[in-house]
C-alpha cells in the first residue's frame, strides 16, 4: 500500500489489474518450468491488456522473474518468447522506477533511526539496481544509513529453499543478523518482501527489536 501512496504522491496514475495473481517464481525455482510457463502466460494476459506505460513491482525478485526469466523459460516457444521479450523492458522495480523513470530521489520523507539496507540477490545481480535505494534512503530526514559487513551475502530465503533446506537457510539468516548487530542498526530496509519476511521471522524469534520495513514504507513516512 505504501507503494501506491508513494507513487500517487509523485503524480503517477496507479492501476491494479485485478486478474493478477503471481509471477510464477516458486514453481520456476523448483524446476517446474511447464507450470511456471502456465502462470507466466496468465501474467502476460493480465498485463498486456491495459496498455500501461509502465509496470511497477515492489519486489526485486518478481521483477527479475518477469524481465529476465520469462524469456528464459519461453526460449523454445516463439510465441511466448516474443510476448515475454516485449513485456520485459516495461517491468521495473519500485526504486528503479522512482529514481530512473520519475527522476526523483528525495520524497521529503522522515524517519528517525539507524538503518542498513539489504539488496535482494536478484536485484543485485540480474537487475543491477544497487545505488537507487540507497540514494532514496540517504534523503530521508533523520535516518542514518549505515554500512554492514557481508552486505552482498544472500539472506537465505530463496523461496522453497527456506523450507527445503531449513538448517542452512537459518544459518545464512544468522550470518546477516550477526552483521546487523555489529553495525548497530535498529532498522532493516529492503526492496524485497520475501527477504524481509525471512529475516524478520528470524529476528523476532531471536528476540531482536529491529524495525523491519520495505523501502516504500520508509518513503511513505510510515515508520511506525
Amino acid at each position: 500500500m505504501s507503494v501506491v501512496r508513494v507513487l500517487r504522491r509523485l503524480g503517477v496514475e496507479v492501476v491494479y489489474p485485478r486478474g493478477q495473481t503471481c509471477c510464477g517464481q516458486p514453481a520456476f525455482n523448483s524446476g517446474f518450468f511447464d507450470e511456471a510457463r502456465g502462470v507466466a502466460r496468465h501474467f502476460m494476459d493480465v498485463f498486456e491488456g491495459g496498455n500501461y506505460d509502465h509496470i511497477v513491482s515492489p519486489s526485486g525478485s518478481c521483477t527479475t522473474m518477469v524481465s529476465h526469466y520469462y524469456p528464459f523459460i519461453f526460449d523454445e516457444n516463439p510465441d511466448g518468447r516474443a510476448r515475454s521479450e516485449d513485456l520485459a523492458p516495461r517491468v521495473r522495480e519500485f526504486s528503479d522506477f522512482v529514481v530512473n523513470v520519475l527522476g526523483v530521489n528525495d520524497l521529503g520523507a522522515r524517519l528517525g533511526g539507524k538503518a542498513v539496507f539489504h539488496t535482494g540477490c536478484h536485484q543485485r545481480r540480474e537487475l543491477g539496481v544497487l545505488e537507487e535505494p540507497r540514494e532514496l534512503l540517504r534523503n530521508v530526514e533523520g535516518l542514518d544509513l549505515l554500512d554492514w559487513r557481508n552486505e552482498e551475502l544472500c539472506c537465505g530465503f530463496g523461496g522453497t529453499f527456506s523450507v527445503k533446506m531449513p538448517d542452512v537457510s537459518v544459518a545464512m539468516a544468522d550470518e546477516k543478523i550477526k552483521a546487523l548487530d555489529e553495525s548497530g542498526a535498529d532498522t532493516l530496509v529492503s526492496c524485497d518482501s520475501s527477504c524481509l519476511m525471512h529475516l524478520k521471522g528470524r529476528l523476532d524469534r531471536t528476540g531482536h527489536q529491529t524495525r523491519v520495513l520495505h523501502l516504500a514504507q520508509v518513503l511513505d513516512g510510515n515508520g511506525g
Binding site: 500500500m1 524446476g31 517446474f32 496468465h42
Partner: protein, 489 residues
C-alpha cells in the same frame, strides 16, 4: 530394545519424506551437522573471507578483467565447439615431441593404463601433484586395490592433500583441501606419521613435511599430475602450484603421466595469457601462482632432468555428454574455486556436506552431470539461486541458471516426488485463475487463525514446520491488497 514409533508419527514422517523435504535428505543431514559445528564455521569463514578479499583486491588492480572474462568464455566456447579437432591437434603435437597419448573413456581406462605402465616400469613409488581429475576417479584407491601385487606407494605431494591422505580424509575445497582440519588434528596426523610427537606450530609441521616429501620426490619412479590447461597448438600442459610440487613431480622422476579432462583444452599457446592471469587472481588472490609451469613432452635434447617418458591421458568420463547441450557451459570451468568462496551455502556447510569430489556451486552442477547417482540427486537443491557464483566466476558460467536447469531436468524425469508435482500443478491452476487465487487467499486467512498467537504464527507441524521451527511467520493481513483496492485505498 525396540522402540516402536506410533502409527500417526510414521505417517507424518513418510509424508515429509515424500514432500517438499525430498530429495535433499542426504545433503540436509550432513548440512545440519556442519551448521552446528562452530569450529568448522570459523575455519570456513577465515578461509573464504581471506580468499574473497584477496581476489577482489587483485582483480581491482587489473583494469582489463571484464574483457578477459568475456574472452575466456568465448575461447572455451570455441574450444568445445571444435573439441575433436583440438584434441587431435594436441595428440599430434605431443607425439611429435616423442610423448605418448592415450584416450580414456572413463576412470577404469585411466587406472588400467597407469597400473600397466607401473608394472612395465617396475615402479614402486608414484608421486602425485594435486589433481581433481584423479580424485574424481579415485585413482589412488583403485590402483592400490587392482594392482595390489605391485605394492605401490602412491604419495600425494601437495601438503594439504598429503595430510588428508594420511588422515584417511578427503579434500573439502578445490584450492584449500584441508581448510576443515584444525591445527590440533593436523599435528596428530603428522605426529603419527613421524613416529614422534611434533609441536603444533606451522614451522615444525611444515619442515617435517618438506623433509619427508622430499624423500618421495627423489625416490619417485613416476610423477602424476593433472593439467590446469592443455594447449592444442603445441601439446603443452600447464600446471600451477605455490608449493613447487607440480614442477618437482614433472622434473625429477623419469616418467611423467598427465591425467587431463578433455575440457581443459585451449586452442593456442597465446590463449594462456588470458587464463593464466584469471586463474591465480580468481582462485588465490595472487597475480601469479608461484610455479606456473609449462611442460611440452618429455625432456628436450641435452637435458639431464625432466621426464624421459611422457604420457598424456585424455579423459572423457562423461564430459563429452555435455557438449552441445544446455549444460555445456559447465565444461568451461577452470577449477579456480572462486564460486565456493562466495557461495553463502558453502560458507555455512563446507565442502563435505556435498558428499562428492567437487563441492560448492560447480560441484552441485557437474556432479549430477558427470557422475549421476543417488547423492547427486540432492545437489541442485542446496542453493538459494543468489547468483554470487556466476558473479565470481572468471569465465562467466551462469552456475545458478545451470542449477535451475538441473532441477527442471529432474522434474521432467519424474524425480521431483509426487507431493511436489501435485503441489505445483495446483499452484499453476491456482495462479492462472484469479477466482481460484481469491478463494485460496481467503481460505489461507481462515486456516491460519488457529495457528496464530500474539500476532505471529507459532511452530507448526508439516512442511511449514521447517519454517516455524526456527523462524516466526507473519500472519497474512486481515484484508488482502485486492480487497483493500476494491474498497478504494
Amino acid at each position: 530394545m525396540e522402540t516402536e514409533k506410533p502409527a500417526r508419527r510414521r505417517d507424518t514422517d513418510d509424508r515429509r519424506r515424500e514432500g517438499i523435504a525430498s530429495p535433499v535428505e542426504g545433503f540436509n543431514a550432513r548440512a545440519k551437522n556442519a551448521v552446528a559445528d562452530a569450529q568448522l564455521h570459523d575455519s570456513i569463514e577465515l578461509f573464504t573471507n581471506k580468499s574473497v578479499a584477496g581476489r577482489n583486491a587483485v582483480l581491482n588492480a587489473l583494469p582489463e578483467a571484464p574483457e578477459l572474462r568475456e574472452l575466456a568464455y568465448h575461447i572455451k566456447q570455441e574450444t568445445m565447439a571444435n573439441l575433436d579437432r583440438y584434441l587431435g591437434q594436441m595428440a599430434d603435437a605431443v607425439e611429435a615431441r616423442g610423448g605418448n597419448v592415450f584416450f580414456a573413456e572413463d576412470g577404469e581406462d585411466v587406472v588400467r593404463y597407469i597400473g600397466d605402465l607401473a608394472r612395465r616400469r617396475g615402479a614402486k613409488v608414484l608421486a602425485k601433484s594435486k589433481s581433481m581429475a584423479t580424485e574424481e576417479i579415485e585413482l589412488n584407491r583403485r590402483l592400490e586395490e587392482d594392482y595390489a601385487d605391485l605394492d605401490l606407494e602412491i604419495v600425494e605431494t601437495d601438503l594439504g592433500e598429503w595430510i588428508a591422505q594420511l588422515a584417511g580424509d578427503t579434500p573439502s575445497h578445490i584450492v584449500g583441501p584441508i581448510l576443515h582440519m584444525n591445527r590440533r588434528r593436523i599435528t596428530e596426523v603428522l605426529s603419527e606419521t613421524a613416529g614422534e610427537k611434533l609441536p603444533p606450530d606451522v614451522e615444525a609441521l611444515g619442515s617435517f613435511a618438506r623433509e619427508r616429501l622430499r624423500e618421495k620426490f627423489l625416490a619417485a619412479d613416476i610423477g602424476i599430475t593433472g593439467a590446469n590447461f592443455g594447449v592444442a597448438e603445441t601439446g603443452t600442459i600447464a600446471t600451477v602450484t605455490n608449493e613447487g610440487n607440480g614442477r618437482l613431480v614433472t622434473s625429477v622422476p623419469p616418467v611423467h603421466v598427465v591425467v587431463m579432462g578433455i575440457e581443459k583444452l585451449v586452442p593456442r599457446f597465446a590463449d594462456l595469457s588470458v587464463f593464466v592471469r584469471l586463474l591465480a587472481r580468481s582462485g588465490t588472490g595472487q597475480k601469479l601462482t608461484v610455479y606456473t609451469n609449462f611442460v611440452t613432452g618429455p625432456r628436450g635434447p641435452g637435458e639431464i632432468d625432466g621426464a624421459e617418458e611422457f604420457h598424456l591421458i585424455l579423459m572423457d568420463n562423461g564430459r563429452s555428454e555435455l557438449l552441445g547441450t544446455e549444460f555445456e557451459e559447465a565444461l568451461y570451468c577452470i577449477r579456480c574455486g572462486a564460486c565456493l568462496n562466495v557461495c553463502p551455502v558453502y560458507r555455512q556447510t563446507g565442502g563435505h556436506a556435498y558428499g562428492s569430489t567437487y563441492s560448492g556451486p560447480i560441484g552441485a552442477v557437474i556432479t549430477p552431470l558427470l557422475k549421476g547417482g543417488k547423492e547427486a540427486k540432492d545437489l541442485p537443491h542446496p542453493s538459494s539461486l543468489c547468483g554470487a557464483c556466476w558473479e565470481a566466476c572468471p569465465v562467466g558460467i551462469p552456475l545458478h541458471d545451470l542449477l535451475l536447469k538441473l532441477r527442471n531436468r529432474q522434474v521432467d524425469e519424474g524425480l521431483a516426488g509426487k507431493a511436489q508435482e501435485i503441489a505445483f500443478k495446483g499452484f499453476e491452476k491456482g495462479m492462472s485463475s484469479p477466482t481460484l487465487y481469491n478463494i485460496g487467499s481467503k481460505a489461507a486467512r481462515l486456516a491460519q487463525k488457529p495457528a496464530q498467537k500474539d500476532g505471529s504464527i507459532r511452530p507448526m507441524p508439516g512442511p511449514l514446520g521447517a519454517w516455524t521451527n526456527t523462524r516466526d511467520l507473519p500472519p497474512l493481513a486481515p484484508k488482502s491488497f485486492r480487497e483493500l483496492w476494491k474498497e478504494g485505498i
